[in-house]
Symmetry: C2
């Protein structure tokens, strides 16, 4: 049975950390069975351990209602509900600059539906740009395994077009024209910092 | 019954938002019944709504084990556990700069115990300084209701003294000498951005 977040996103439980053998670590573009979130988390871990950047995923916001305190063992949350996040999922620091982004994927082949984003996230991105932060989205077309970095200023433009009565999605051609394709790599998997260097002259 | 986080901090459930009357909003230094977290959240809301800064508390990290999906109502988390956070609690952006801090309080009168902090938080603060972020702690002496901003570089110094066999706390005199007292205000309640302006010449 599928559960959906308040934001319509499927809930994927975080994997427990496991020690991998070299065999298991073998990398291929196809059928890796990795989610976009896992790829980004591994990328951020690479940036962190190599002293490149400190960027983290925020925990899933949960409203805790009831907690049990069994003797001699850890507290157990017995009733809680998913809450809508008021910001994007990822933020942190790179070369002194504030970095903020959201990651989304679609099964669509030719366009990216804007319903993947929500008013409060759009508002948050506007705020970050107002404060001179580096803000963008990572968009993944799952069928073709293509990943694009699209700066928030462009996403906001397409969002405004929708609000003004225009199309409810960004065509893939528009994403190719305004965004920046990120090839899937081994380590780091999704090297978005490389694009940030290029876009913000941070090299 | 008291529950403690993995970090030894008491768990305080987030209050539901309530509409307050003017009477209730009346402000006094004593017996306000506000927690440090609530004061900081209201301060951050003030900064956000006034376009000053965008700084948020990260959600409590929770490992979700079991979720129920009742028909026609919201998903209920039935089993989950508190996880140790890998970063500090608050981060965001101010005038393009990355801001990162942790807030702690003590009942002690004459010193601030370093056991309020944990290895991973200290390591995170070192990382943030390495990347040229603005990093500090807000320390509250609950009995006297005094609040100090202590820059991470000083906290790290006192932490190192402990690791090297020195005292396991920071004396209040040291905090007064190296830190910056923040008077409790009405709106914003804990105006730490004012100190940041002063310390980092951002005015």
């Amino acid at each position: 049975m599928k559960f959906h977040y308040p934001n319509g996103k499927k809930y994927i439980p975080a994997k427990r950390e496991t020690v991998r053998t070299k065999q298991e670590k073998k990398w291929s573009y196809s059928n890796r069975g990795m989610t976009l979130e896992e790829d980004i988390n591994e990328t951020n871990e690479y940036y962190l351990t190599n002293g490149i950047a400190s960027i983290h995923k925020k925990p899933t916001p949960v409203q805790i209602v009831q907690v049990d305190y069994p003797k001699r063992s850890a507290a157990v949350i017995k009733e809680a509900y998913f809450k809508q996040a008021s910001t994007t999922d990822y933020n942190g620091i790179y070369k002194g600059r504030y970095i903020d982004f959201e990651a989304k994927e679609t099964q669509n082949l030719t366009s990216f539906p804007l319903k993947n984003f929500h008013d409060h996230q759009i508002k948050h991105m506007e705020t970050i740009l107002h404060h001179d932060g580096i803000c963008f989205v990572l968009l993944r077309f799952s069928a073709s395994e293509e990943i694009f970095l699209l700066e928030a200023k462009h996403l906001l433009m397409f969002w405004k077009r929708m609000i003004d009565g225009g199309r409810k999605s960004i065509s893939k051609e528009e994403i190719e024209n305004h965004g920046h394709s990120i090839p899937l790599g081994y380590n780091p998997r999704i090297d978005y910092i490389n694009k940030i260097d290029y876009l913000y002259y941070l090299e």
